[in-house]
């Protein structure tokens, strides 16, 4: 496959360099070159909000740094948790003196590195709270929700937590509302084509022609079932059914809907999916407050899409509407 890279081993370095140059109006490179920091961070007296994750999900993680959004983001290798040191340095960069919250995804590596970083920060007197995202419905059954992966729902968790911090929320208040946000998110991914780590050079799994992987992970983890490829309408209906059955929301609930491409799916196909998604969600009596469509959280050049449905209440709806300035429209 033909790609725009210089050196397969320097993909993350080169990405970060170009990223910081492009967005110097809203963010900067931290002292640790694997940490991205919002231009105004740390804000004295405000709870610092950070995340971190592997690269390859752009704009995932680093693209959500900014005003009224994340104060700092730890950057990992492609598809690999950032180091404990990078998480620790992100905590330091975000520390405005009233504690820092780390809002991250449920992956073994991230769990361990965050835990070590929290301990290092505590030794310096920085209080750190954490919320772990687990919105990916297909990654574990409902009774094992704590095992589920965090995927695109993390964006809503960041938005809600960051907005609450901006409004002067205490560390506990920010933690509680970020937890509420992710508890009310459900996501599903469908993969039509695999992705390739440049340093590996070939896809790490195959999706046979005319098939699709339902429940695919954000790192090319194979899905939980393989099915013949169907029409966009049928796929969108399946995605809605899986997400909404798990969600079990009463009619009249307001929701935010996020349809994200996984990297190589054109935007028009996301709109084709959304045509059915809107119909299906509305047919269940749910009220769509806002819809987000685009490459919000990708997996290199994977072909596919994710659907996230975020059930709102008065508090999270108001926080969702707080204006933010990051690289993506939120």
């Amino acid at each position: 496959m033909q790609r725009f890279i210089n050196d397969p081993n320097l993909v993350v370095e080169d990405t970060v360099k170009g990223f910081v140059k492009a967005h110097s109006d809203i963010l900067r490179l931290g002292q640790n070159p694997r940490v991205i920091v919002a231009k105004d961070a740390p804000v004295a007296g405000k709870v610092g909000v950070i995340t971190g994750g592997g690269s390859g999900h752009e704009p995932g993680f680093m693209g959500y740094t900014g005003k009224n959004m994340l104060d700092a983001v730890a950057v990992g290798e492609l598809f690999s948790s950032p180091t404990a040191k990078s998480f620790h340095d992100a905590i330091r960069e975000a520390n405005g003196g009233t504690g820092v919250i780390c809002l991250y995804g449920n992956y073994a590596g991230d769990n361990m590195n965050v835990k070590m970083a929290v301990r290092l920060a505590a030794k310096e007197g920085i209080e750190v709270a954490t919320v772990v995202a687990n919105d990916d419905v297909c990654s574990a059954p409902p009774h094992e929700r704590e095992k589920r992966r965090g995927v695109a729902g993390e964006i809503f968790m960041w938005k809600i937590g960051s907005a609450r911090a901006t409004q002067g929320g205490s560390l506990e208040e920010v933690r509680a509302v970020a937890q509420k946000a992710i508890d009310n998110c459900r996501s599903i991914g469908v993969g039509l084509g695999p992705c390739t780590l440049p340093a590996v050079g070939h896809p790490n799994f195959q999706i046979e022609p005319d098939t699709m992987e339902v429940g695919i992970g954000h790192h090319g983890e194979p899905g939980v079932r393989v099915e013949p490829l169907k029409s966009a309408e049928a796929i969108a209906r399946d995605m809605c059914q899986i997400v909404l059955d798990d969600h079990n929301l009463p009619a009249g609930t307001e929701v935010a809907v996020l349809v994200s491409g996984l990297g190589a799916t054109p935007l028009n196909e996301l709109y084709i999916l959304n045509d059915t998604i809107e119909t299906e969600i509305s047919a269940r009596g749910l009220i769509i407050h806002r819809t987000y469509i685009g490459n919000y959280f990708t997996s290199l050049e994977m072909v596919g899409a994710t659907l996230t449905v975020f059930a709102l209440d008065a508090e999270t709806k108001a926080l969702l509407d707080v204006e933010a300035n990051c690289t993506m429209k939120l």
């Binding site: 290798e77 690999s80 404990a84 992956y107 590596g109 896809p203 790490n204």
Partner: protein
């Protein structure tokens, strides 16, 4: 002239790094089957960072335990993923063993294997049968203790350790992953050797080749 303990540990890490680099593509392929195909790259990155760090140390004038502690820090600062914290904990625990007596006695070989496994287990909260690196480390540890109790010499002991680690790694083929990224695959992880268990065997084999001559 015999190398001092610090130098042996230094060479051991360079052996591990060479062995991991030689198996990088294989580890990555194993990970590609059930994970995200980064294991070979991550391990190579980590051990290269360790050897770079150790190259800057004067191994004639530091304690062997300090070499292990430096290796732990270098590995942790270079590697995120789950392998970073897991092996950093392993080397740190091994360093604590040598802090008590800076010799590479057979007793300390066994204690280091025991401590490394305990470090990994404590950090990752894993169990035997979860289809992780512990499925190589735990049998290796049991074999080391048993061989020691049986009065085995250094060669026999390490042969038993490697044999048990290899058998443990091979057994992961018939396990359903319970931890790590492959855990989300459920039964679809069956039939594939766990890449973390495979790299554990490579590490133990490199340790054996260096330590059973020391």
């Amino acid at each position: 002239m015999t190398d001092n303990a610090a130098r042996v540990i230094g060479r051991m890490f360079s052996d591990i790094s060479i062995a991991i680099d030689a198996h990088k593509d294989h580890l990555t392929a194993l990970d590609g089957a059930i994970g995200d195909a980064d294991h070979g790259i991550t391990m190579s990155l980590g051990f290269n960072a360790v050897t770079n760090e150790l190259a800057g140390m004067d191994l004639d004038h530091v304690a062997a335990s300090a070499v292990l502690a430096s290796a732990a820090a270098a590995f942790l600062n270079a590697v995120g993923a789950s392998t970073g914290p897991l092996y950093a904990s392993a080397f740190l625990q091994a360093a604590k063993v040598l802090e008590k007596s800076e010799t590479l006695s057979l007793e300390n070989h066994v204690e280091m294997i025991v401590a490394m496994t305990a470090g990994i287990q404590e950090r990752g909260k894993g169990q035997r049968g979860d289809k992780t690196m512990l499925d190589a480390w735990i049998p290796a540890t049991e074999a080391a203790i048993k061989a020691q109790n049986d009065g085995a010499d250094v060669r026999v002991l390490w042969n038993e350790v490697i044999h048990a680690a290899e058998a443990g790694a091979n057994a992961t083929r018939s396990m359903v992953a319970a931890r790590g990224r492959a855990a989300r695959l459920g039964e679809r992880s069956l039939g594939h050797v766990d890449p973390g268990a495979a790299s554990a065997v490579i590490i133990l084999r490199a340790m054996k080749n260096r330590l059973d001559f020391s």
